[in-house]
Amino acid sequence: MISNQPRGRRQTAIRLFAREFYESSLPDGGQGEYDPRFVVTKLGAKVNRMYVAGVIERLEKRETERGTMFSGAVRDPTGLHLWSVGSFRPELHIEMEELVAKFEGGDRFLMACIGKSNHYTTEDGGFRCRMQMEDYAIIDRETYANWLVETAHHTMRRIDALNKAQSAENTDANSLRDAGVPKDLIDGLGLAMNHYGEWDSEGYKVGVLQALSAAEGRVVSFEEHEAIDASEDGNEPQEKGPVSEAQDVSDESVPTPTTGGDIETTVLEIIVQHSGAEGIDYDSIMKHCAQRGFTDEDAIEDTIYGLRDDKCEIMEPRFGWFKPM
């Protein structure tokens, strides 16, 4: 049995792109002392062990109360995989020291990283995922390209399973099996569908396209509407920004619609509209946001960094000033 692995059996390393992992917000397992802990992604992958890859983008050594640790990030076509090497893995520390020196000397390289998913909740209730590194290797372009293709395959396999699951009558294991969901995804998809509800997997397909093209040597970045699934011909691209619509509506009935999910579109719009030659400074973004009903500064700040680091929609030419790309 592959899906319901009995206790003590080694967990398989899930291949997934950064975005699928960091958009997850559902923990599972870990009740008993030896129960494995999982992060369940929107596509139903139950991630305990994972295998990710990309170009090194951050790496630093930190001294904490619990000892020396290292944290770093590798970039794949969909964003950043954050990882850390804990103080409880001293066997990796010597190599990490060397890696930090290399990184700080300006060297950049591709890495294959194998580790365990980890999650924690922030003080304000946010759910964050990252990876505890178990092992890694510096890899060549060819090995990375192979990882991109393999991960694209696994992502599409999960998207396909999600589509099948959505046509099922129910989210219990039997219904999902009857709908053709592969054995290893039944459990996770059942959990994911109940937790994440309805959403559009189009963005994940863009990541797949990006990865396949990169692996084939055509290194470009796609926009969301460019992903077309041949099996869903005529599927109109989803509009992403309901903000202006919410504003129209607000004229009639609703004052200051503080539409939480739209914060990103709003912030991006503010930056596009108001940035001069220098860009727009952090405080002005906050003011504009407040005018539009967004007052949670932490959320705005997170959004700004998300736009800068993960989506690459904006840049920070100098500290505290932001411009659209």
Binding site: G126, D135, V208, L209, L212, P242, P255, I263, A299, E301
Partner: protein, 571 residues
């Protein structure tokens, strides 16, 4: 190849941030990201800017490592304030009234209604709020259902609070308003599915074989009559055991309701007990006995340890006999040989003499109603009586050369099946285990020792030992769905490393093999390999033994195309 023009925008952005940066150098950096790391310029921008900022001695904005939008999760409406905008809460939907509204000249469906917090406490105090659904969640927000709202925002108007369910909000139905129909356990299940199930099952199947037998009770209190046999439908076959009467002749179509699924070794079996209902079933469209019999002939690749009543055709490639003295002191003879078919290799053991002439090999043998035992990953077909074997006139396939017969099997297929030998498969090395390299074996039991001592409790020499040096590699293979450990014993390891054991010893001398292992890791981790050998699979996992191990051959462009074709992803 890259041209400077394609980085125009990004180069300008870098120049703005770091005016003194050299344009050529900037293009070079972007080209490197694109060609070496497969990162498009847009995604590489921040790293490149940082690189030049650092070079210019400028202060680099400290990267904030964790930065995801935060959600607020509450149980009661009273915990919310008017500026909360990314809220998670569980509520019961009271009413849901859809309404068409003109938005930007377009007719859109929105909806409003009432929701109540504290939905789980029976008779508990609840607060009722208005809500508006901007995201068309009509299907999930049915009145009477309990849902979890995620990413909703609070709205305050003249001191009155309400919730906005936005387009980007998620609605997870926790309790539907109508109880979902659960599949009744009396519905029949296809045998193929029963093989992967636990618990109880109902099947409609034809009796393929049966035999009455008497077994001794374990406690010695007497004997028990039972009937064993095999059932089939057009999806597969399964053995059954019935304690009591089973008067249905071979070929009868029966409906068996509420039989317990029991497992013997790797093999599931239906147990027909007191509470199981067995009745004759009528369905003219059901597959005939003849069809089922011919399709229930197994191949070596499908064998499971512990199976009984197996029918199979194999090509016998060797045959010999051996005599020994049994426990009761009598002289006994057992015959055995190697068997192959297009799906793999196995052993054949016979406890009666079969009419096989070892000079006429290879020869095809049809076996009926035999048992399967596995030993160290190799299935062993056990023939108890001469009438279970029938020598065929011709081999039904092109005679297989048993010396290098290996069947290509998908990795997950291999690991989710039973033990097999003569197979070949491909997966990624995800770990090089410590204990790879030069190891010491106990001179008595031959097991690998730890810390200079034999740890095998069953060994006469358990404890500190002078071990015998050996070479072995232990790796974890993983294809993203399944994983297993693979062992390369000395010969395979020497072949793979292109090093003799003495070479490895020399390489490990200075630091107890640490740098040898580190080298191996950096060479192998994340890369795909193909092995040929056997797979021992049980409830604990899979152990693979490699006769041959090498880097997988793959054509990148081709594999990318396969993914595009399989899932229909094109631009």
């Amino acid at each position: 190849m890259s041209t400077p023009e394609e980085f125009e925008n990004e180069v300008r952005a870098v120049k703005e941030a770091v005016p003194e940066a050299n344009e050529e150098e900037i293009v070079k950096e972007f080209t490197r990201y694109k060609d070496e790391f497969l990162v498009p310029p847009k995604h590489a921008l921040r790293s490149v800017i940082e690189h030049f900022q650092k070079e210019a001695g400028m202060e680099v904005g400290a990267p904030k490592i964790s930065s995801r939008p935060a959600a607020k999760s509450v149980e009661r409406f009273s915990n919310l304030s008017s500026d909360d905008s990314n809220v998670t809460i569980e509520v019961e939907v009271v009413t849901y009234v859809p309404r068409m509204q003109m938005v930007r000249g377009e007719e859109k469906q929105i909806a409003f209604g009432w929701i109540e917090d504290n939905p789980w406490e029976d008779g508990g105090e609840r607060t009722r709020w208005d809500f508006k659904d901007w995201g068309n969640h009509a299907e999930s927000l049915t009145p009477g259902s309990v849902v979890r709202l995620e990413g909703v925002s609070v709205n305050e108007w003249n001191g009155k609070f309400s919730l906005n369910v936005n387009q980007s909000s998620r609605v997870a139905v926790l309790r539907g308003s109508e109880r979902k129909v659960v599949q009744a356990p009396s519905e029949p299940t296809a045998i193929e599915r029963v093989l992967g199930m636990d618990g109880f099952a109902t099947v409609v199947a034809r009796v393929l074989s049966k035999r009455e037998m008497t077994v001794n009770k374990k406690d010695g209190s007497g004997t028990l009559d039972m009937v064993k046999g095999r059932l089939a439908d057009d999806t597969g076959t399964i053995g059954f055991a019935c304690f009591g009467n089973f008067d249905h002749p071979i070929g009868t179509l029966v409906r068996i309701e509420g039989a317990a699924i029991r497992r013997f070794r790797d093999t599931p079996e239906l147990n027909i007990g007191d509470r199981t209902k067995v009745e004759v079933y009528h369905d003219n469209a059901f597959a005939s006995l003849e069809d089922l019999q011919s399709s229930s002939v197994l191949q070596i690749g499908q064998l499971r340890d512990g199976s009984a009543d197996v029918s199979i055709i194999v090509q016998l490639t060797s045959w010999a006999s051996r005599s020994f003295t049994g426990q009761d002191g009598t002289e006994k003879t057992v015959w055995g040989g190697d068997a192959v078919d297009p799906s793999g290799t196995c052993r054949l053991t016979a406890w009666s003499e079969l009419p096989i002439d070892s000079d006429s090999l290879p020869v095809a043998v049809k076996l009926n109603g035999i048992r399967v035992r596995s030993w160290q990953g190799t299935p062993d077909l056990t023939v108890d009586r001469a009438d279970q074997a029938e020598i065929l006139d011709a081999i039904p396939w092109d005679a297989i050369d048993a010396t290098d017969h290996a069947v290509d099997v998908d990795f997950t297929e291999l690991l989710s099946g039973g033990s097999r030998s003569g197979v070949s498969s491909t997966a990624t090395v995800i770990s090089v285990a410590t204990g790879s390299g030069i190891i010491l074996r106990c001179p008595e039991c031959k097991r690998a020792m730890r810390d200079g001592a034999c740890m095998n409790p069953a060994c006469n020499s358990q404890g500190p030992q002078v071990g015998i040096e050996d070479l072995r590699l232990r790796l974890i293979l993983d294809d993203g769905i399944s994983n297993g450990a693979i062992i390369l014993a000395r010969a395979s390891a020497e072949d793979f490393l292109e090093m003799s054991m003495d070479d490895v010893k020399a390489a490990c001398k200075s630091d107890q093999g640490e740098s040898f292992l580190a080298d191996l890791r950096s060479k192998m981790l994340g890369r795909k390999y193909t092995f040929t050998g056997r797979a021992m699979i049980d409830a604990q996992g899979a152990l693979l033994m490699a006769d041959n191990f090498k880097m997988a051959e793959s054509e990148l462009a081709e594999s990318a195309n396969v993914v595009r074709e399989q899932w229909g992803v094109f631009v």
